[in-house]
Symmetry: C2
Subunit: 272 residues, 2 copies
């Protein structure tokens, strides 16, 4: 991390009373910067605003967030911005304050140096043993309760054999990767991605790909996806706002070819 | 809050890179102080150490924590201590650092002023619509991912009609209160409390009550507890380290009498 702002001012520490720390009572967005520009910024801000609504507090005005994000992106060839919005400080106890004063933290990180070969030749996934809890109330939200992802990501090291972990819910349905959403292509050429009604995060890149597929006339289905079905799929890929699209060539011991729908999705991600 | 120490030194803010904030990657203990003394301190430290083990990092040595807790309790007639231990600072991404340097935050709060009548004449519970996700990997831990409790506690206000909320898992089994564990007494006089294999927190007061019941020859059962069974129970109470035991006289529209097992449990809590 090289820079951080809290509520618009340079800062490197947060009051210990913040509910983001005590309860994970907040949300975040991870945004790429390319040549000073933030792709899909509107979709990120929309998701954040909807998330605040579901958690029951009022998000900072879009204009304020947009101004601070643009300032942080300005002059950066490549960077990652992480915006966290918490319900702010509070006393002891879970009960949210009646009139919370949300805290916004904006952090700027260097661009991650993933090898280009992961885009070109694909990545290997493991199936995580850590499962995602079923939580209709929290499903879809990019909230700050991320211990499931921490435990899942701790299942493998950085030797380079595995690039991402696939996470299932407690009933064995595919939900997402530890840091990505998942798409599969059926033998009939339908682009399938798990619904997020019970677990998972509504990824901004996931949404973009679904929209672009619709525009391009590629049939899509958002639905429950039992793990066993993956083995009959023709293509598999993972995506997020930072990495774009990584084709999956290996899932455990199962192999996939990189197909035309995945390559098309990579194009959509690049054009965002 | 009146005082806070981070890693043993007075402090009021935390570095923004802390994984406690980013992911809720840590644990906490809430400890009462009575006349400078911390009841059940050993059990709190044991739970914390076990929790760190399950999350995969090494807890600060008990002697250090014990010394800091005693220092914070010293001279306090009545207070609440909250000890948080996080995996410390990290870069971007879920993967835990190979050699984490955990952060410990110790906060001292005033004693909460719950009316004595809640102890004497009992409390009313609502059944929360927010459900607890089923999570064998996280079950039992007092971790920092507490959005479920925040949403559940936001379901009712402070008008005084409701004192606590009962939380069920996604399958309708009773797990715990938003800030308490739950005990019921069967018509046969067996003290029953839900197991914590799939959701919930292993409360220190819960453990103390189970141990004291065993010593006193009161039969106990720790098991799955479907919600419907509660309506056939003879007594119901909730407990934690701060409040001790509150008899439950109302659960939704269902009424309970305060019975002898509950009164005995109140005695065990007082003697802790």
């Amino acid at each position: 991390m090289n820079v951080c702002w809290i509520d618009g001012r340079p800062a490197d520490s947060l009051p210990v009373s913040d509910r983001g720390l005590h309860y994970g009572d907040g949300l975040f967005e991870t945004l790429p910067v390319r040549d000073g520009r933030i792709p899909l910024l509107d979709a990120h801000l929309e998701r954040l605003r909807e998330g605040c609504g579901r958690l029951g507090f009022i998000a900072t005005a879009d204009e304020v967030l947009r101004g601070e994000l643009r300032h942080a992106a300005d002059g950066q060839a490549r960077a990652v911005l992480k915006l966290m919005v918490t319900r702010g400080s509070g006393g002891r106890g879970y009960r949210p304050p009646d009139n919370p004063a949300p805290t916004r933290l904006l952090l700027r990180y260097p661009w991650p140096d993933h090898p280009a070969s992961w885009q070109d030749h694909g990545v290997s996934l493991r199936v995580c043993t850590t499962r995602l809890g079923i939580h209709p109330e929290l499903a879809g939200l990019k909230h700050l309760n991320r211990l499931e992802q921490v435990l899942a990501r701790a299942e493998w090291g950085d030797s380079g054999e595995i690039q991402e972990g696939l996470m299932l819910d407690g009933e064995g349905a595919v939900v997402e990767g530890t840091m990505t959403n998942v798409f599969a292509v059926t033998p009939e050429g339908v682009l399938v991605t798990p619904d997020m009604n019970r677990a998972g995060v509504y990824g901004v890149m996931r949404r973009h790909i679904l929209e672009q597929a619709d525009k391009a006339g590629t049939p899509t289905r958002v639905r429950r996806l039992p793990f066993a079905e993956l083995l009959g799929m023709r293509e598999l890929f993972v995506c997020n706002s930072i990495i774009g699209v990584w084709p999956v060539v290996r899932l455990g011991e199962h192999r996939y070819e990189i197909g035309p729908v995945t390559r098309r999705a990579q194009g959509w991600a690049m054009q965002a």
